[in-house]
Amino acid sequence: MYNFDFPFDNQSILRNRKKIVKSLLNDGSLRLKTKIAVLAGSTANDIISSLELFLLNFGIEPQFYLSDYNKFWEDGVFGNAELDAFSPDIIYIFTTSRNINFFSQPFSISADTANKKISEEFERFKLLWIKLSEKFKCPIIQNNFELLPYRQLGNSDCWNIYGFSNFITTLNFKMSDYARNNNGFFINDINYLSACYGIEKWHDNEVWCMYKCAMSINAVPEVSYSVACIIKSIYGKNKKVIALDLDNTLWDGVIGDEGVDGIEIGNETAVGQSFSEFQKFIKAYSKLGIILTVCSKNDMDNAISGLNHPDSILSPSDFASIKANWDSKDKNIEASASELSLLTDSFVFVDDNPAECSIVTSQLPEVSAISFESVYDAMYKLSRLDFFEITSISSDDMKRAEMYTANAKRSAQQKQFASYDDYLKSLDMTAIIEDFKPVYLKRITQLTNKSNQFNLTTKRYTDSEMLSVFQSNDFVRLYGRLEDKFGDNGIVSVIIGRKFNNILDIELWLMSCRVLKRNMEFAMLDCLVKKCLDLNISEIHGHYLKTSKNSMVSELFRDFGFTITELLPNGDSSWKLMISDYKQKNYSINVKESEFTKNE
């Protein structure tokens, strides 16, 4: 199973098509077999090749019939013994504006005649659809028509009765009307696809002249994907659920750190407004019957308070399942799936963090995951990947035709990573951990004032306090910066310890929740111990000062191998580590040995 991200790498799909098809056919999954007749008005072999690839990826194994070149109409209207014997389950009529019989002499005919000519052209196609559906009683997919790159009548081409743009638009309008009134007739909207692709790029006159290909070869995968989406929808293979992250996905900010008043949502700010538009977009999916769930690393109370934000368009009751905890997200998607009695392959997972998407798809390759730069990016991908293509045939009717059980399919899928450690190694993480640098003081100070969850003492610093820490010889300071194959996470962890002879007392230890469960805290500890050894420090003392938000680190020192020296009734605790006993803890992050100079 491949997770194709949008925009597609069309060039790579074309070039590696055979390899991808072979690997899909050999992946051991059971597929629904179907027979597709392609009645084509131009060369369609390349369309079929890509269509096969995308259908296999949707769990459908097609067998194709292809009409002789430009015999789509004759095959359909007069019949063809080979086509009859093939007995298609689905018919795809691959025609384009190249197949329209336009006026040969536009201005030499009257407006009435021109109008009549357009209607006749529509009737020509309509006859084809009627004949085919009478004979084969199967779904018919028909391309509509794309605009041409030339407008000989200028702007009036779109309304003048002699304009080709008007001709095309009128045919499309009539075709849409036919689709509304005829079950089992579906339009593949190449008018939209070509506009998105760029009409000038879409049309390639040279491949038309050389091979009779009706569009640029590089545009072919987009057409095929679109058809594949209609077909998978007809067979009930649409996605059914959107699982959504919360922080920086449904609102801007980290609610665990900033509180419900700190997150941005609503029309007061530009950023807040963009998240409102995203929520509105998601809410519209729920109106179409798509199930929504929450899949977030958060405390449940925080998650609920965010969704109850007065400006939040989505509220807790919009979600069929809310998973807000610190388990890995693939586990939470599995939990939601079993609650809803759905298979995980019905899930689309949306998270701003590509690393979260990657771990979900590595464990559950049948889940489609979308990461994004901006929420508009997420909206575009959700729509262009066409997870929820609507076809009017009842999907329940079609589902009964599925020839295999879902469980068989699930067991055929292997988890890509044997263990979490393997997954961490696959991230190619590199950390820089070293003493503070002047250029980072501002960011470090900001982190001490923002981080609440992974923060042992929640000690806040002003700029001038931080500067005096930086300039003093009484402190051991470390900042950590983490990169992985998806990019640079920036400065994510800070430690400040005060020296008392051979003892280091930790005043501050924090980490951004963005890098939870990546072993970064162990890499920081390794470096801290190393630095203490260099300074002849033999003991490290630590404190956990309990707040309403930092329960996740209440046992951190125990995990680090410290022993507890004091536990107060209010939940605060003190801890001690003898450095001579210490063993290196991090093996998954490559730590760059930077200069451990103190004052630069």
């Binding site: 074309l14 072999n45 050389m210 590089n218």
Partner: protein
């Protein structure tokens, strides 16, 4: 462009398009030497070569190329510009 570099990259394109990692091509290779190289795969091949070398063949060239050597000549010449 260096002709032997171009041949290496061109070989990789052929290997991908025909899904045969052992495929080796030379100046004298023609469509008769590669079983899958029919008029249909030719379209994918030409398009993938154009994508690889960020150039386009002229119509006259596509129909006129007799073998891989002639294709390489055009690639090397076009890449110089």
């Amino acid at each position: 462009m260096n002709r032997s570099d171009a041949l290496k990259r061109l070989t990789a394109v052929f290997q991908d398009v025909f899904d045969d990692s052992s495929l080796s091509i030379s100046d004298s290779t023609t469509s008769n030497d590669i079983e899958d190289w029919d008029s249909i795969e030719h379209i994918t091949l030409i398009s993938s070569v154009e994508n690889e070398f960020k150039m386009t063949f002229k119509m006259r060239e596509v129909s006129g190329m007799k073998n891989v050597g002639e294709m390489l000549n055009i690639i090397c010449e076009r890449a110089k510009k």
